[in-house]
Subunit: 333 residues, 2 copies
């Protein structure tokens, strides 16, 4: 079975653990003899240059999580991380100081940056890094082109504020998404192309899942790459999404701040309606949101209700299995 | 008093501590009210790109030593260093693995590389880094241009050897200078220009000292930058060198391997003759080498004999004072 999953960072990476387990693969690491193939299309709109290093937060979170290198408590960065470089950069007064670059993590960025500067595309660089981590899932950046999500907000500047565009990471990490966003723009998306393998994977898929990742800056950014929406419409596979909202609150992160910025209510039904029946065939919502199943705004979308919190691996596996089952069931109709 | 010192790495940095102390400056850190000005012209021929980072070994050794950040036991790198990044780079199989890049040290290289890529010349980058370290000496790279010392040697390649040019660091660090060098070439030197301030500092100097650094790959490389030799000939200051050889052995490092490569005997007298009376006016040798004082090959060079091992700061200070005294004495003749 061939499964394609659109993912962002922490939530997407954890969901992938469940998809692997649901297909009988070892959740962490590779399962060489499995007949199943999972391809993750990973958001790169959060990627950023810092201290001369190219940082791909979502790709790395997926790679570390699936390869067994993640700090499981924090959800991002490396287990056993140390912070000597960060401390020294601060001693030099090198900006930015608000982004936590760990020592072990920096090695990944050094290898990546060196390869990018040597001319390798991000997809090949990612494959090279995964040669070490063996995530057991093919991790594809949504695009090899530079796409960076910028947020327009009122940014503090001394005693005043200035309305300006800042990199998503600055808005998210530095300001904790607390400054209301006037707009969120995936800069460069319009001119970008899907990375090699992305469209083929969608075309060959038996099921396509949208992880319960941020519908604006993770899934939304992937969908902003020209060609990906069309491929999702054309594939014979059914597309099933998982609500990132439970009881009108984001399961993780600050997706509500992003939804508000694009004028979408923070609810399981509103996110499904935002994706729309032309994109998703099925939608999983939590028991708390079962009203969505009867929401007329979701006509044309098969809604399933189940416990949707990824509390642990068994719960996540059950959720992933329900998503896969729904995709296959809808395909046979 | 204005003093210019030509230096390489560990030995040069330690000698600078003595020069500072001899002039009444605090050996470590800045001495804001001192009337004396010390300018170090630092070899950059050992500089190297590794893992996408620009590493300036001699500049950093001087900066850390004079700024109080050096690992005093090892003589290079940062005190309290950790090695997480190196371990991770090795896990990725990222070459080279034989060069010890510490975590704290990497922060310096990140700041430098970012500034260089942004277009700042190395001399300005060095000044920016020194803003943190306050070495109390003006550290000038010999040149802002890329000069890299390469060594031609018979390099192991599986079961055979191949005669080829490798970066000095590979020959020195990886092969411990144990492979006989057929030639040593400061690649790029011919086309390089002295960094801003270098020629002016030499012209304005009251004394010029050649630290007891490697006469081939440290002092020799600085002298290979067009314009520097001429400036040393033209300045009114006298030039006094310190023998890096005591009792026919290098005081530190493997200078003998370099001298052999250029056909110079490993002796205090031979190095002085190699520099020659057109470059140096005075030469300090150790008590063990007092025969050099009567060596007819050193005609035109004022030789002084004294204990020349930089065992500790008082000994180093006495040596630096003797060098300064000789330079001033020769100037008054």
């Amino acid at each position: 079975m061939k499964v394609v999953v659109l993912v962002g960072g922490v939530g997407g990476a954890r969901f992938l653990l469940g998809v692997k387990a649901a297909l009988g693969l070892s959740p962490v690491g590779a399962t060489p003899d499995s007949p199943h193939e999972i391809t993750a299309l990973v958001n790169t709109g959060d990627d950023v240059w810092m201290h001369g290093l190219r940082i791909c937060t979502d790709l790395d979170t997926c790679m570390y999580t699936l390869g067994g290198g993640i700090d499981t408590g924090r959800g991002w960065g490396r287990a056993g991380e140390t912070w000597a470089v960060r401390e020294e950069l601060a001693a030099y007064g090198a900006d930015p100081t608000w982004f936590g670059l760990g020592d072990r993590d920096i090695a990944t960025h050094l290898v990546r940056t060196r390869m990018l500067r040597a001319g390798y595309p991000l997809s090949e660089v990612t494959a090279a890094l995964c040669h070490r981590w063996q995530p057991g899932v093919r991790l594809l950046p949504m695009s090899d082109d530079r796409v960076e999500t910028h947020v327009v907000a009122d940014i503090p500047d001394g005693d005043s504020v200035e309305r300006k565009a800042v990199h998503f990471q600055e808005w998210w990490v530095r300001y904790h998404a607390e400054l209301p966003a006037h707009s969120i723009v995936p800069v460069g998306a319009e001119e970008s192309k899907p990375a090699p393998g992305v469209l083929d994977a969608i075309a060959a898929a038996d099921a396509v899942l949208l992880a319960p990742s941020n519908p604006v800056v993770s899934i939304g950014t992937i969908l902003a790459v020209p060609g990906i929406r069309a491929a999702l419409r054309e594939t014979k596979a059914r597309v099933v999404g998982l609500s990132p909202i439970v009881s009108d609150r984001p399961v993780r992160g600050m997706a509500d701040a992003c939804l508000t910025a694009i004028g979408v209510e923070t609810s399981a039904a509103a996110v499904a309606a935002h994706y729309g029946p032309e994109l998703i065939d099925g939608w999983l919502v939590d028991d708390e949101d079962k009203a969505a199943a009867d929401d007329p705004a979701l006509a044309g979308i098969a809604v399933r209700v189940l416990p949707l919190l990824m509390r642990d691996l068994p719960a996540t596996t059950a959720i992933a299995r329900a998503a896969l089952d729904l995709a296959l069931e809808l395909r046979e109709r």
